[in-house]
């Protein structure tokens, strides 16, 4: 696990610094510390006494193993996602023939702020019109208005996309050229996988 985490950190330093931001998170380290502590307290027979707490060496090792596994998995996930942008996601979906899903994701990300604002305005309007005196009616009105407004946005977007002749089911991506650098990368990744697998077997 240590070697895997080290490989990931090297990868992150070289290609995806954004993915390494996870290591600055105090929550992650609190979780790691909690796992190590839990392992020391709960697994194995106590070998060291620290005040009222009995800590075990075996448990400490198991705690470190659990924390290492959690760190390696979370870091791998963070690096993988951190090295991709929205455009990369859309391009990947395009290549997989899921142009519509890429379009829907990009649309969702770009409209996140607008929808958030729409929800806030709806809530404030209901509040200013004394909706809080009848909370259930206010909730019902809020939900209906939010969904109706979302559908209104949908119609606007559909109209805009239609006049530009956009069709999410149309358009084929050009074939992906496989270059020499891709083959080198493939070879390196295969080598890394083999090394990690052999380390895991030991």
């Amino acid at each position: 696990m240590t070697s895997l985490a080290l490989v990931e950190i090297v990868f992150g330093l070289a290609w995806s610094r954004r993915g390494l931001q996870l290591l600055c998170s105090s929550r992650l380290w609190a979780l790691i510390l909690a796992v190590v502590m839990l392992g020391s307290l709960l697994i194995g027979e106590p070998s060291v006494t620290l005040g009222p707490l009995g800590l075990s060496r075996e448990g400490f090792g198991a705690g470190l193993e659990m924390a290492g596994r959690a760190l390696a998995l979370t870091l791998a996930f963070s690096l993988g996602i951190g090295s991709l942008t929205l455009s990369d996601f859309v391009a990947v979906f395009d290549r997989m023939g899921l142009r519509g899903l890429g379009f829907a994701t990009a649309l969702a990300l770009n409209l996140l702020g607008t929808l958030r604002e729409m929800v806030t305005v709806t809530m404030q309007t209901i509040y200013l019109r004394g909706g809080m005196r009848r909370p259930w009616t206010a909730l019902r009105l809020f939900l209906i208005t939010t969904v109706a407004n979302t559908l209104r946005y949908r119609d606007e977007i559909v109209n805009t996309a239609t006049v530009r002749a956009f069709d999410p089911n149309d358009g084929r991506s050009p074939p992906l050229p496989l270059r020499r650098a891709d083959l080198w990368l493939l070879a390196v990744l295969t080598g890394c996988t083999a090394v990690l697998l052999s380390l895991g077997m030991q």
Binding site: V35, G39, G100, L101, A106, L107, R140, V147, L151
Partner: protein, 214 residues
């Protein structure tokens, strides 16, 4: 399957995914700050899943095609991954599994029906309980089983001191599961009612010009 979706369908999927994503990113951040993840309180999951399930099922009302809930869930999961708050595996897995469960029930029901929304919502929210045990197992490995076993043993000893036994803990878990199922059923029923109310108000029921989409 994907090519059967119209432009209108994809836009609806994107917008409902964005709505669920907005709830996860705003309300989720607030709730995770109030109730830190280490405390693992079921309330955060209950509130976020309840709203998310209702949004996804309402979205299905407007894109009545197979796979639409799964696609709404996928868009939400991608938004969660791309958010600036950092990558969290747990919520992403939960969103995907919940949408998969809802989709499975609606697939069995063939056409959208109130019972399918209720059962789908209940099952999706019911996932929250196994999620609390499965995710640590995946993240921490086999040692976690031993640690959790010890916690249960110590909890049992504590309960015995209070004059209770392990069945009290089982009752707590069953009560929690029932609370999740009930909340999910209410979310599903609410989504059906909400979708119906919006369709009635907008007067678009029976529209056949867009492949059954309202």
């Amino acid at each position: 399957m994907m090519s059967s979706y119209t432009l209108r369908g994809w836009v609806t999927i994107g917008l409902f995914g964005a709505l669920w994503g907005a709830v996860e990113l705003t309300l989720g951040s607030v709730l995770h700050t109030v109730y830190p993840p280490l405390a693992s309180t079921p309330l955060t999951g209950l509130v976020l899943s309840g709203i998310g399930v209702a949004i996804a099922l309402t979205g299905r009302h407007f894109v009545p095609k197979r796979g639409s809930i799964l696609l709404i869930g996928t868009v939400t999961a991608l938004l969660k991954l791309l958010s600036v708050s950092g990558v969290k595996i747990g919520p992403v897995v939960a969103i995907l599994v919940e949408s998969l469960l809802m989709e499975a029930i609606l697939w069995i029901a063939q056409t959208p029906r109130p019972w399918a929304f209720i059962v789908g919502g209940a099952l999706a929210m019911g996932w929250n309980l196994p999620h609390m045990f499965i995710m640590p197992q995946l993240l921490l490995g086999k040692n976690a089983t031993e640690a959790f076993g010890k916690i249960v043993q110590q909890g049992d000893q504590l309960l015995r001191l209070l004059g209770l036994n392990l069945s009290a803990a089982s009752l707590v878990l069953i009560a929690l599961l029932l609370a999740y199922l009930l909340a999910g059923a209410i979310s599903g029923w609410g989504a059906w009612q909400l979708g119906d109310a919006v369709v009635r108000r907008l007067g678009t029921r029976g529209s056949t010009t867009n492949g059954g989409e309202h």
